[in-house]
């Protein structure tokens, strides 16, 4: 079974938000909300400054506090690629998962259910890349199976310096940022 993850090259990312826009139209994300977003980390003192731009979204963690806390079983691990999903019909909008997620990746859709990045599983199951990955004009995002040592993502993680977000939360996030 695959275990999907993402690798994002912060050296190439320009923070253009195309990934955010593409997600919005692909997934019809309602106005005022987004499933992915850009964070710019600035270090140093002018003119010796360092910038890291991160395209962030649900990390589809291996250890999922959001699934563990869900009272209805709506938040679950999908059998394809271990992607973390929410079954809209079962969700009661109690916001427990919103509080549990260390990445602030979830929001309540105006229709009442917890919403977040799905790794575009509807596309991936058809053999396409997630919308954000396929639109990125700098080609800085990669998607694939972390369990396959020959996948592009696995190779990038083993060959390039990288980090995850808030690893200390212990969720074992599956998005890796190349630096």
């Amino acid at each position: 079974m695959a275990r999907y993850g993402m690798v994002i090259d912060t050296k190439k990312c320009v923070g253009c938000m195309d990934c955010v826009v593409a997600c919005k139209t692909e997934n019809n994300v309602p106005e005022g909300h987004n499933r992915d977003w850009i964070v710019t980390v600035v270090n140093g003192k002018f003119p010796s400054v360092n910038l890291e731009i991160q395209s962030q979204r649900c990390n589809h963690c291996d250890n999922t506090p959001c699934v563990a806390c869900c009272p209805t079983g709506a938040s679950h691990i999908h059998e394809v690629g271990n992607v973390v999903l929410v079954e809209h019909n079962m969700c009661i909008g109690c916001k427990a998962c919103l509080a549990a997620c260390p990445y602030d990746a979830r929001f309540i859709n105006p229709e009442g259910y917890a919403d977040k990045c799905t790794f575009c599983i509807h596309r991936v199951e058809k053999g396409e890349l997630p919308a954000c990955v396929s639109v990125c004009p700098t080609h800085c995002m990669y998607f694939g199976d972390l369990d396959d040592p020959n996948s592009e993502v696995s190779k990038l993680i083993s060959s390039r310096k990288n980090h995850q977000l808030i690893p200390e939360a212990g969720t074992s996030p599956r998005i890796f940022y190349l630096t």
């Binding site: 195309d18 919005k24 139209t25």
Partner: protein
Amino acid sequence: MNSISRRKFLKISGFTIGAAAAVSTLSPMIKGANKFNKEKVKGIQKIPTYCDLCFWKCGAVAYLKDGELWKIEGNPEDPLSKGRLCPRGSGGIGAHSDPDRLRSPLIRTRNRGEEIWKEVTWDEALDYIAEKMNKIKTEYGPEAVAFFAHGIGGTFLKHTLNAYGTQNFAAPSFAQCRGPRDVGFELTFGEAIGSPERTDIENSKCLVLLGSHLGENMHNSQVQEFANAVQKDAAIIVVDPRFSVAASKAKYYLAIKPGTDIALLLAWMNVIVSEKLYDVDYINKFGFGFEQFAAEISQYTPEWAYPETGIDPELIRTTARVMSQYKPATLIHPGRHTTWYGDDSQRSRAVALLNALMGSWGRKGGFFFPTKFAVPGYPYPAYPEPIKPKVDNPDKKYPFASEEITTGIRDATITGKPYPIKSWFVYATNLIHALPNEDETIKAIQNLDLMVVVDVIPSEIAGWADVVLPESVYLERYDELHSSPFKEQFLGIRQPVIDAPGDQKPNWWIAKKLAEKLGLGNYYPWNNIEEYLDFRLKKIGLSLDELKKKGIVHGNKAPIYFEDGIAPEFGTPSGKIEFYSPQLAAAGFDPVPKYKRPDQPPAGYFRLLFGRAPVHTFSRTQSNRILMDMMEENEVWVNADIANRYGLKNAQHIRLKNQDGVVSNKIKVKITERIRTDCVYMVHGFGHNSKMLKSAFGKGASDAQLVTKYVTDPLMGGTGMNVNFVTFEMEA
């Protein structure tokens, strides 16, 4: 880019994407083209077109789901987008569903600028315009009508106005943007840079950016090639008073003092000439006046440049050597928006000369020779012979202007000299934000007998019109064929994907109807644009049906570098690359660029710099709900030490006041280590005050409003706008 979490977004109720109903009163002329939409075809339909969120014109594919607009992707066949649009292009459906769009023709009922209108029919609006135009022609002659336009959509209106008898057309893209750049290169190599830029970034081994903030400035092909160069580990050198995104990708960042670029360029050339690091063969073969140039440049040592630029002489030397190491694949990017200080065409000449030293013109990794898909024009009757010369540049006041000067037309409209201008047609360019000094623009408008604006949104300039004509957005219309000069030949089509939501019309329809009302119907021998396009396409063995299906067709292979067969010819008077320019000397200008220190901000004031964000184009996308969700207001970037000194808090709202006492809208403070202490920065295009533009109204501040001062480039009439200084007004 600001760090944004989705939590920060305000909820704006009552509108969801995709819910914009496609109810329309289509004219018989475009009915049929949109049938699929009316019947709400089930399932997915893909329709190729080309983007209009900026002027780059990327090939795109629009997706309809059950007859509703769903998303837009890049067309993989398109050499400009290579299948990936920029964020604005990806958010293009927001242009269709923008609730603030103009919906019906409007005629002003109160004073100009009060924005009080009555809705009228197209017949009423066009009759009104035609009657006024006929009167103007009788009283002042047809040249009294001027046309300002931006983008390919202005083609047909220009045709109608040409037929009417005027040639007074200008676009802010020259005197307010790339004009100085193109003139500097014309004076040196005999050719302009053009658009899209002829820069071969993806093959550059060394790329130098002066103020160009690629990545924030989102010209698609440029950014894609830039990312490629980053991946290939090109030596990137960024010169900018602000630590741009591009600076964060650079090997060398030069935090230059604003306005001193010419000093840096002269010092670089000094190092390269004195250390003999230039391309000797290339200059021997193609150079003119190199000895005089070299003699003059010898005085500009890095030590001389240091107090001006603030850049360490050793860093100047190192970067000059790095450039030379990779020549001729060293590209000193000519930039695009280059109207900064009023000596901009001379700065651009210095950029051109530095490239000449690298031998990069005509070489791989430098400047390529663009090739273009040729399609014969439509055989129209000849236009009437102009009686009066163009109004914008009387007696060649600006001898090297190679295009028309917007502000020249504005001056003529104010003074009535060399002859009166009595009508403005404005197509898709918000002159209030595009031209410096809003007061002069408004003063000129007050002298008009007829002011017409054709646009998709109610921009500020529309607020000053007598008649506003609502255009359909690109997803709802056909347009002129697209073939840009680029690395390869291609031809693209724009075609309607969905119905217009109101009484909007495509520009070709507006132009044709107006021509008919003016008795100039013979200039439109075709009945509708399909006929026009098909006629032209048949001439080259294609058909409209075929191009509609493919979206893009490719042309012949053609050489684009000297090394693969382009003849090294230069359109200068000497036929060579002019290091020393006799024509500049003859006209009384510096034959080799000289540096002059720009005015400095008084104590307590900061130089106002402005630029681009990747999610917006000029002042025309702020009401697009998708793009607004990405960025709904701009911020003023203030250095952390300065903020500290003035007690500014991050995200606090302040106002900016300029040297002439003009006070901006409220704007959020962004405290940052990413900018020098002597300047502040904001993204252009915000701070709308058009009442009809409800969603963008009052969000952020307009740099244009603060640009009351400008310095005109004596060579070509460009308006240098980075010469304004602002201070902080702490009131919330």
